[in-house]
Symmetry: C2
Subunit: 429 residues, 2 copies
C-alpha cells in the first residue's frame, strides 16, 4: 500500500526524483498541493558525475542526497520508494509495485535508461552507467579485474582483464576515457608495479566521425587531441555490434580482446503500460505540447529526458540534458502556482565536458574555449550544482586532494553483504 492520506488539496503525483521531478517538487514545498514524489531510490543522484564514482574519484554519497532530508521542512511532500508499473489515464490512477493511487495531476519525470539497441549479449555483458549503483558495479569490476590480472599467468588472458573498450563518444564516453587514461598513467604504476601499465589499452569507439556531437566542432576536435595525447585509441565511424565478456566485435567483424565493455552509446525512455502507442516519439520519448502536457490527457505532464517537445530553435526536440530537465521542472511548478499561457522556452546555458587534469572543453552561447580555465569553470559549475553543503565541501576537498597528490584513496572493492531486505521477506511469511 502506498498509504497516502486524504487531503483537502489537489494531489500531484511525480514519478522520478531526477533533475526534473526534484526541481518541480522543491518549488511546491509548503504550497497548497499534496505532492507525492515516487522514486525507486530514497535519494536524488547527480548524473553528470557518475563517471567519477566509477573511476574511484568520488564517493557515491558525495553525489547523491537523501530525498527525505531535502523535504524535512515541509509537510505537503510525501516520499515513497516505489516503481511505476502502469497508468490508467481514464480513471486517473497509477499502479506501482507498492499499490495503486489516485492522482489529480500526474507528472512523468522518469528520465531515460541505457539503450542496448535490442542486443541481449551487450545487455548482459556490457557495463552501463545510468545510475550510481551501476557506477559502483563498474568501479568494483575495474579493480577486481586488475587483481585478477595479477593472478593470471597467460599473457592474452591478462590483457583481457586490463584492456577496456568504451562505446560512445558523447560526454560520458569522453570523460570516462580521460579518467581511465589518467588512472593508467598516475595510479597503475604505483598500485600495480607488477603489471606493465604500458600494456593497458583503452579504446573509445564512436559511431560518428567526431567526438561530442552535442557540442561544437571546436570542442570535439579539442577532446580528440586531448585523448590522443593521453594515449586513448580512438576508433571513429564504427559501432560495437556484439560483446561476450572477452571480446568486443566491431561492425566490420574486427574483434578487440577486452573483457570489459562500457556502454555509453545511447539512451532510451521507458514504455509505460496504459499509455497508447501513439504517445511515443523516437527513443520512446513522450510527445507533449508547448506546455509540457500530453495532448490527449490534460492531467498528465512529462518532463526532462522523457518529454519530447519542439520549439523553433529545437525542431528535433530538446537535448536530453540536465539543464532542460531543471528548467522544465521549474516551468511546470510556475504553471501550478500561477498558471499562464506562456509556453516552455529552453534557455541554453551552454555545455561542457572534462577530459582530465587541466583539460576541459566549454561551449558557452557566445564563446567556446578549452584548457585550464575551461577545467576550472567545469569544477565550479559542478560543485555549485551539487545538493548539500557537505557534499559541495567533500567534492571540493576530494578534487583538490586529487589535484595535489595525483592519487585518491577510494580504490575500494566494497559490496554490501547479501543480507538486506531479509526482514521484508520475514514479514511476508
Amino acid at each position: 500500500m502506498l498509504n497516502i492520506p486524504d487531503s483537502k488539496y489537489k494531489r500531484i503525483v511525480i514519478i522520478g526524483a531526477g533533475f526534473a521531478g526534484l526541481n518541480l517538487a522543491k518549488q511546491l514545498r509548503n504550497k497548497p498541493y499534496q505532492v507525492v514524489l515516487l522514486d525507486r531510490n530514497n535519494f536524488h543522484q547527480f548524473q553528470p558525475l557518475f563517471y567519477q564514482v566509477a573511476m574511484a574519484g568520488l564517493e557515491p554519497s558525495s553525489i547523491t542526497f537523501p530525498l527525505r532530508k531535502i523535504f524535512q521542512s515541509c509537510n505537503n511532500v510525501l516520499i515513497r520508494v516505489a516503481e511505476l508499473e502502469g497508468i490508467s489515464p481514464d480513471t486517473k490512477r497509477i499502479q506501482t509495485n507498492q499499490g495503486e493511487i489516485y492522482y489529480d495531476h500526474l507528472v512523468l519525470a522518469m528520465g531515460a535508461t541505457t539503450n542496448f539497441f535490442g542486443n541481449e549479449n551487450i545487455k548482459q555483458h556490457a557495463f552501463p552507467l545510468k545510475s550510481v549503483s551501476e557506477s559502483l558495479a563498474l568501479r568494483n569490476s575495474i579493480f577486481e579485474d586488475y587483481e585478477f590480472a595479477l593472478l593470471e599467468e597467460d599473457y592474452q588472458r591478462r590483457q583481457g582483464f586490463i584492456d577496456i573498450v568504451i562505446v560512445g563518444g558523447g560526454p560520458t564516453g569522453v570523460e570516462l576515457a580521460g579518467a581511465l587514461a589518467e588512472m593508467k598513467s598516475h595510479i597503475l604504476p604505483k598500485d600495480y608495479k607488477e603489471l606493465d601499465s604500458a600494456e593497458v589499452d583503452i579504446y573509445l569507439v564512436q559511431g560518428a566521425d567526431r567526438l561530442l556531437k552535442g557540442m561544437s566542432n571546436k570542442a570535439g576536435d579539442a577532446a580528440k587531441k586531448y585523448l590522443e595525447s593521453m594515449g586513448v585509441n580512438l576508433i571513429f565511424n564504427t559501432y560495437v555490434v556484439d560483446c561476450d565478456g572477452t571480446h568486443a566485435t566491431l561492425k566490420g567483424g574486427e574483434k578487440i580482446h577486452a573483457n570489459k565493455v562500457i556502454w555509453a552509446a545511447g539512451i532510451t525512455c521507458y514504455k509505460i503500460p496504459g499509455l497508447p502507442e501513439d504517445c511515443y516519439e523516437r527513443g520512446n520519448r513522450i510527445k507533449v505540447n508547448a506546455k509540457l502536457g500530453i495532448e490527449a490527457y490534460p492531467d498528465i505532464s512529462v518532463l526532462g529526458d522523457q518529454a519530447y517537445t519542439t520549439e523553433e530553435a529545437f525542431p528535433q526536440g530538446h537535448p536530453q540534458v540536465a539543464q532542460v530537465a531543471i528548467q522544465q521542472g521549474k516551468y511546470l511548478a510556475k504553471q501550478f502556482l500561477k498558471p499562464s499561457t506562456a509556453s516552455f522556452k529552453y534557455k541554453d546555458l551552454g555545455s561542457m565536458a572534462t577530459i582530465g587534469r587541466n583539460k576541459a572543453v566549454v561551449d558557452l552561447p557566445n564563446v567556446k574555449f578549452k584548457g585550464f580555465f575551461a577545467w576550472l569553470l567545469w569544477l565550479f559549475v559542478h560543485i555549485r550544482s551539487l545538493i548539500g553543503r557537505k557534499n559541495k565541501l567533500f567534492v571540493f576537498i576530494n578534487w583538490m586532494w586529487n589535484y595535489v597528490t595525483y592519487d585518491q584513496s577510494l580504490r575500494l572493492i566494497i559490496k554490501p553483504a547479501n543480507r538486506s531486505s531479509q526482514s521484508k521477506k520475514g514479514t511476508e511469511v
Copy 2:
C-alpha cells in the same frame, strides 16, 4: 595462480590485513624479506567504527583504506586478494582459492568472525557486524525497513519494521544502541514525520548482569544510565535463543516482535584445514607460545584475535581487541628484524566506548571517567588511529557536522548493480 615471483629473500606469508597483519607488514616495508600479504579484500578496515557506517554516520571509504596505497613506496610487499583454504605445515605450503604457495614463515592474522553458537536460524536472519560489507547491509536494511513501515497499514506489522533488537552488551552493542536511540530522537521525527517515533522500540539483550564486561564496573554502570536515559530497553541476564525474521525469542520463551535482530553477542575464530585439532583453544583461538609461535610448527606464528597466549597479567589469554593485535604485529616484526629472546608483553593502554553525543566512558590504567571529556578523548583517539590523512579529515568534518546539525546526509540505500565479476566469468568460459 597466486603468481608470486621467486626472490633471494625469505618469504613471509601473512594471512589477513587487519590490525595485526597490517602493522606487521608495514614494519617490514623495504626490509630484506619477501612479504606476501593475503586478504579477501583489497582494503584494510577499521573495525571500531563499523557501527557508525551501519548507523549512516560515516561512509565506508572513511574507515577503510586501499592496501595497495599503503604499500606504494616499497617493492618487497606483494598483495593478493585471496582466501586461505588450508595449510600443509609439513611441506610449508598454503592453499588458497587462487592457488597454492610456499612459505618460509607463515603468519596467521585472520581475526575472528561472528559466533552464532551453531544456531542456523540466527545465522540466517540476524545481522552481524564484523565487516564493512555487513555494516552497509545493516544500514540498507534499517532504512529500507523505515520505508516499508510507511507502506504498511497494519499496526503490528509496522512495529515489526521499526523495532530493533540488539544482542550483546559489549562495546558494539552499546555503541549501536546509543546511535539508534539518537537516530530515533533526532532523525526520525524530521525524516519520517508520518511515523510516530515514540513507537520505535530499541532493545538491548545482554547475557550478563551488566554492560561492557571488558571494562570497569563504573563504565558499565555509566553506560547503563546513559542508555536508559536515551530510552533503550535493557534486558539483562538473558539470551536470545532464536529469531525468524519477525520475532526474537528469549531464553525464557518470551518473544519480542522485531524483524531485525543485530547480533553482537560473540566471536569465534576460523578453523583451518590442515592444522591439527589440538592447536585450538576456546573460541577456536590457536595456542601459541610467549613468542607467538605454534609450539609444534616453529614456522607458523599467530597474531591478534586468532592467537591464544597467556601472561601473568592475562591468565585467560589476552582480550580480543585492536591494541593487542597492533602490539603483536609490531612485536613479531621486531623478531624478524632483530630476533631476541623477549616474550610478547601486552601493554594495556585502556579502553573506551561511546554511547552518544557528549556521552562516553573511558577506563585508563590509572583513571576512569565519563561524559564530555571522555567523549572528546574517544573522538581524538579514533581519528588518530585511522589510516590516511584524508580519512582523518573527512571523519573529523563528518563528526563536527553531525555535532552542529544533529543530522547527517548519509541515509542512502545504495547497492552496486548486480554486474561485477562478469568479465571473470567471461574468461573462465
